[in-house]
Symmetry: C2
Subunit: 234 residues, 2 copies
DNA sequence: ACAGATAGGATTGTCGACAATTTTATCTTG
DNA sequence: CAAGATAAAATTGTCGACAATCCTATCTGT
């Protein structure tokens, strides 16, 4: 499964839940194109469920900010916009900076060593591949890194806000960008881990904020280098 | 209407929307007590709507984090917990700090003068009342202040995340606290406005973070002074 | 008496049908 | 031909009924 389950790693016990996970995957993978209107009768017949269950699933997608709904008009898959992506990076800078500060204080030793092995593995996979394959797991490894620190903050609401409300959008946008593979980002990760090991919250926050800011700039550069066709294609 | 409409100031065009606003008000005012289980048949008959519409409204309440749902079991009004409130303050520190930084850059002049009059009015109402009445608008004025700055950040997603996902919870908890009325907070507001006028984003962020942190400490102190009965009462 | 099994009642999940609204296609008029 | 009104078609919102699941009270055996 190519998607980091994150907070949505529960067993889908109900039809609407299963449907939600299916649709979420379809949206993130681009099966359902960005900006497309969702036709309730059409999708319901495709998935072989009633419109009621479908509407419940759409509600959940709305929570993840993957679709927007307007009364009496319908639901649309969110649209790709560079400005919105930049907005998200600004929010991530603030929230993940705080997460890093808290993680420096609250992370357990096992969590820390898990994070270290994670970064080491990522480093290895970078060294072994000159140019990474398109489906290498460097992207997921990056998300794992951030997820790990957020979890280490021990702030439950921070975790759910980031994972439920923001990270699906991050995945949505990332899927539509050419794959990033920055050794600079790798080094930034290592610096953050060192600060966490020293339990230096102030420094961890500063480094995380710098890292998110730098990632935003790198994404912006890549986006501006892409042709309009590449942008619309996804 | 005693509730700051914030992002929910749209015209309720559908039954589920109207119901959502009604229930939201009922929860915030304490009509529906914290932690209580929501009985779908009961509420549906009380409000004279079908269970389907009610379920849609409950979904929206879940988005605002005012109720939690578990499959095949049901929905409950969120419960009051001091730790959760502290978590929220930590998130607010990060997000509103960023909002202040951005507002220093992006706020328009009309927005700035509106903010100034708002603070001035608040200051007057404080000078005229030795001890504020329980239903004075100092609490709403405080939220107005924060809302104004978030809006001035011109980061649309930051606005919706704070207003939709967090501020209803802030109101929920605030309703259940003895009214806060701090001249210290007032002075902190003034300092922030001055930084915004100077367009000093760095300073605005620092001051806002200090302000939220101090508010958190004041809330904690008040909470620890309250008796268990006062806490459970609401 | 108490722990676990069991049946009854109540609650939630799911569905199909109908009503209200929006969208589309057609027709009229300048 | 274009612009606006009008009717038909499609889509969304709402409802009540049935199925599946959970909760509760009773029963049984040790």
């Amino acid at each position: 499964m190519p998607f980091h389950p994150a907070c949505h790693s529960y067993e889908p016990v109900t039809i609407a839940d299963r449907l939600f996970l299916d649709l979420r995957r379809a949206i993130l993978e681009g099966e359902l194109p960005a900006g497309k209107k969702i036709s309730e009768p059409e999708l319901a017949s495709i998935y072989g469920v009633s419109r009621g269950s479908l509407r419940e699933a759409i509600s959940k997608l709305e929570n993840c900010n993957l679709v927007t709904r307007r009364p009496n008009i319908g639901a649309r898959i969110v649209n790709f916009s560079i400005d919105q992506l930049m907005e998200i990076y600004q929010i991530r800078e603030a929230m993940e900076g705080m997460a890093a500060r808290l993680a420096a204080k609250n992370m357990t030793e096992p969590e820390l060593s898990h994070l270290k092995t994670l970064v080491a593995r990522h480093k290895d996979s970078m060294a072994n591949l000159e140019r990474p394959a398109k489906n290498d797991y460097s992207q997921d490894a990056d998300l794992d890194f951030h997820f790990c620190i957020i979890q280490g903050s021990k702030n439950q609401r921070l975790l759910t806000m980031l994972c439920q409300d923001l990270y699906d959008l991050v995945r949505f946008y990332r899927m539509r960008l050419s794959p990033a593979f920055s050794s600079t980002a790798m080094q930034e990760h290592e610096l953050i881990v060192q600060a966490l090991e020293r339990r230096d919250g102030e420094m961890a926050e500063l480094l995380m904020r710098y890292h998110v800011r730098a990632s935003r700039d790198r994404a912006k550069q890549r986006l501006e280098a892409m042709t309009p066709e590449e942008l619309g294609n996804h």
